[in-house]
């Protein structure tokens, strides 16, 4: 790496350390931090929760990073695709009686086909154009999806009661069973896709196209087909993320909006198009959010600010993120 | 680039040649501020320009063209000309000068056409006269002959000589040896980022290192 590249990486690392320290400092000054064992138990629980949550965040983000990395398209509807995943899982659970994890067998292919359709009808024409066009197209798509969902499901919050028990790791540390299962699934799916990208011919073709589409085309890769497959894969991953979310939180048609921005923050932190970067970014954001919600007054609103703040500072210090080159 | 040193005499036409990848365009980029040097100086009119931004260097009277034309495609020819800054003259005067230059390269009938719709040769001409809007003293031309037909090239070279007669200094990067050998007073040769030779055309043609750089070492 060049000198300025290395420098910006150090700067980013320093910033991240400050970002993690900040909730503690704020908490100390506001008195929400205590040094007793009970509180430390809370802290450990919250951090652990954050890590588990990070697995799910990572699921949203890898789909987006693939799409952004391969096609340079900002999918402003990504959160809505997660939301769609949550609703699909809900439908399978309540109307078909399927276990949410099992229903993935059904929902993932649907998601893949949906991604293909979106790419074919909408995004293919938009790939070479300035980013505004893709942003608007996907934004419009997202809006439409929200309104269709409202029409079908109304704006009521839905939940899926699943694995309600808790896992007690120590007298003061407990996490929900559903969170652990979600995390496990997230790890399994991420690992599977990682191996696919790394080892299979198709996976390598995708990575090649992400690096340089023109060269890939000259090497005989059918770039149009790769775009289609990437789109399908990205949406499938988003939907998987949605399924995992559905067993942990309540959701309604509008919850996707926040997920989109969080996903962007994650892929910018991790590096555009970098698969592992998205995984790391997801974990880091989730842990940061947990810390903020515990220690900063007005925690729940500030959590959003944490994501935006993180994103903007990363863009200013090192737009390429942790795993990318400086300028991306 | 590594430890290169050039002195370009004022009022001459010089050539910068070398095999592909030898660092010629990089040199131009360093001179015009698109790249920042890690060390060394760029002295122009007694001032060190290293580290200045491109627009600051431009305002000191140095202008350049690019290897692949960088005209503004979605703007008209006239707008391309008027976008140039540093003029500090009323719009009317700037417009007159623009029209003059456009007419000079026979692009007058295309003044309201989008730059992107011009033919490649016309785009090269546009880039050339656009660079002349501010009456610069040092003009760096990056492969002006590439992709241009003989007649057009003739016009360009004529104008180049006329500029020199007015006291301008010109440096050309080129691969076309006819252009270089017949129109440059002094030639600098680069290879792998270092200067390997310097001198008038006749000397350079005979220089063994130059031949080696272009054609490889002669097998004895």
């Amino acid at each position: 790496m060049e000198r300025s590249d290395v420098r910006s990486l150090y700067l980013l690392a320093a910033f991240l350390i400050c970002a993690y320290a900040l909730p503690f400092l704020i908490g100390l000054s506001y008195g929400t931090v205590r040094a007793d064992e009970r509180w430390l138990g809370y802290l450990a629980t919250v951090v652990l929760s954050g890590i588990l949550q990070g697995g799910v965040y990572a699921m949203f983000a890898v789909g987006l990073t693939l799409i952004f990395g391969v096609m340079r398209i900002i999918n402003a509807a990504h959160g809505e695709m997660v939301m769609m995943g949550a609703y699909l899982t809900w439908v399978c659970f309540f109307w078909l009686g399927l276990d949410p994890l099992l229903s993935l067998v059904l929902t993932l292919p649907i998601a893949f086909l949906f991604g293909l359709a979106v790419q074919k009808l909408l995004l293919d024409a938009v790939v070479g154009q300035p980013e505004l066009t893709a942003l608007l197209v996907t934004f419009g798509l997202g809006l439409t999806m929200i309104y269709v969902a409202e029409l079908i499901f109304t704006t009521d919050f839905r939940t899926i009661p699943y694995a309600p028990g808790t896992v007690q790791l120590s007298p003061t540390i407990a996490v929900g069973q559903n969170k652990v299962i979600s995390f496990g699934m997230a790890v399994a799916i991420s690992a599977g896709v990682y191996l696919f990208l790394k080892l299979s011919r198709l996976g390598k073709a995708i990575r090649a196209t992400a690096l340089n589409a023109e060269v890939a085309m000259v090497c005989g890769i059918n770039v149009r087909r790769i775009y289609l497959i990437t789109s399908g894969l990205g949406v499938a991953l988003a939907v998987a993320g949605g399924a995992l979310v559905s067993i942990q939180f309540g959701f309604n048609p509008e919850t996707g909006v926040v997920y989109t921005l969080q996903a962007f923050a994650i892929i910018i932190l991790g590096g555009r198009g970098h698969y592992v970067g998205a995984l790391i970014g997801g974990l880091m954001l989730a842990v940061l959010e947990s810390l903020v919600s515990l220690m900063v007054p007005n925690g729940t609103a500030m959590v959003e600010l944490a994501a935006y703040g993180l994103m903007i500072f990363v863009l200013l210090i090192r737009p390429g993120g942790l795993m990318g080159v400086k300028e991306a | 680039m590594d430890g290169c040193s050039f002195v370009v005499p004022r009022g001459t036409i010089s050539g910068l040649i070398g095999p592909n990848g030898s660092g010629k365009t990089t040199t131009f980029n360093l001179l015009t501020g698109l790249l920042e040097p890690d060390g060394g100086q760029v002295i122009y009119n007694g001032e060190n320009l290293a580290g200045l931004k491109p627009y600051q260097i431009f305002r000191r009277g140095i202008t350049r063209t690019f290897q692949v034309t960088r005209i503004f495609r979605e703007m008209t020819v006239l707008e391309n000309m008027l976008s140039v800054t540093g003029l500090d003259v009323p719009e009317r005067v700037a417009r007159e000068r623009a029209e003059e230059l456009i007419a000079f390269v026979n692009l007058g009938h295309l003044r309201s056409e989008y730059g992107g719709r011009l033919s490649y040769g016309q785009q090269k001409l546009l880039e050339f006269v656009r660079a002349l809007m501010t009456d610069p003293d040092l003009i760096l031309l990056d492969e002006p002959a590439a992709g241009v037909n003989r007649t057009l090239l003739g016009h360009l070279l004529d104008h180049m000589h006329r500029l020199q007669e007015q006291g301008k200094t010109i440096v050309i990067v080129e691969h076309d040896m006819n252009v270089i050998m017949n129109h440059c007073e002094r030639i600098f040769v680069m290879d792998y980022g270092v200067k390997i030779a310097e001198g008038p055309p006749a000397e350079i043609q005979r220089d063994e290192r130059v031949v080696e750089a272009y054609f490889g070492r002669r097998r004895a």
Binding site: A125, Q129, E131, L132, V137, G142, L316 | L34, S112, E113
Partner: protein, 312 residues
């Protein structure tokens, strides 16, 4: 454009202004509000166009400035007892300061990153407004003292629209505008031609921030109640972008046409098809972005009905 053409355009603008100035008393309250909103969107679309259309830096967070203006007016009128008109100026100044502050770092980013950063900035502003409740009353919102504001705000918006059109017109036909276009086309080449891109971008960005702020202030005074979600509404940014794009990004008549057409269409569908209208809106965005990225004016230029370029 010849001086005669400039005069003609000025006359047209003046005529439109006079017509609009005479109408409020003859219109129903509903139509008056409709006209006011349309004028507001013209202001917003034109402003957005300065940074995104001319300069090519697509801002997806411009609603932040609108919101800042709205809050400036609301806070100053309610808590500090200012008269509402000066608050518009205060809001504009505040927006300019924020624009310079955010713009200086963020304008260094390229294309999609700039868009995302601005989106984050806008959402961040919303969260700040919610959380800083000592200043902004947080999620409760601010209720302004009531009064019959319909007519005064109408005229304020009309004046704002005329000023915005005039400024955009001047910018668009000046060398400043050409240089902004140059930055959009090829920033590196523009720098090599002597354009101090950082300065120009910042100027464009700041200019594009002040008018939405004033519009926000007028809106706040008209509606008499604001809270963070209402004012930092991301749909407003989308509307700005869509209107500009529909009419023709990078032109002057484009955003005006786009704003009028889109807002009218929106109102008509909303009135006649209340549930389906939102879905239709979403689909409409998709279709326009997919099939007409150069907008109506772009089509007109391609057909030869309108001349190319701004300076002739």
């Amino acid at each position: 454009m010849t001086p005669r053409e400039h005069l003609r355009n000025l006359a047209l603008l003046g005529a439109a202004g006079i017509v609009l100035a005479l109408t409020p008393y003859t219109l129903s309250v509903y139509l008056r509000t409709f006209a006011m909103f349309t004028m507001m969107y013209v202001v917003l679309a034109l402003s957005w166009n300065i940074i995104s259309g001319f300069t090519g830096y697509t801002s997806f967070g411009h609603v932040a400035f609108y919101g800042i203006g709205a809050y400036a007016c609301a806070i100053l009128v309610t808590d500090y007892r200012w008269h509402w008109l000066p608050t518009l100026g205060a809001g504009a100044v505040l927006a300019a300061v924020v624009a310079i502050g955010i713009g200086y770092p963020v304008l260094r980013l390229k294309g999609p990153y700039f868009a995302i950063a601005m989106l984050g900035a806008a959402e961040g502003t919303r969260v700040v407004a919610t959380v800083w409740d000592s200043l902004t009353h947080g999620g409760l919102g601010i209720s302004l003292p009531s009064g019959e504001n319909s007519i005064p705000t109408y005229y304020a918006m009309l004046a704002l629209m005329l000023v915005t059109i005039a400024v955009c017109y001047v910018v668009g036909h000046s060398r400043f505008g050409i240089r902004l276009n140059a930055i959009r086309e090829d920033e590196v080449a523009a720098e090599a031609l002597g354009i101090n891109a950082t300065l120009y971008k910042l100027a464009a960005f700041t200019l594009s921030a002040v008018f939405p702020a004033a519009a926000g202030g007028i809106q706040a005074y008209k509606v008499l109640y604001i809270d963070p979600p209402a004012v930092f509404f991301v749909q407003i940014t989308i509307a700005m972008a869509l209107m500009s794009m529909l009419g023709g990004k990078g032109t002057i008549i484009g955003p005006i046409v786009g704003a009028v057409m889109l807002y009218t269409a929106q109102e008509l569908t909303w009135v006649n098809f209340p549930t389906a209208h939102l879905i239709a809106y979403g689909l409409f965005i998709v279709l326009v972005a997919r099939f007409m990225p150069r907008g109506l004016v772009g089509l007109a230029i391609d057909r030869g009905w309108v001349r190319k370029g701004m300076i002739h």
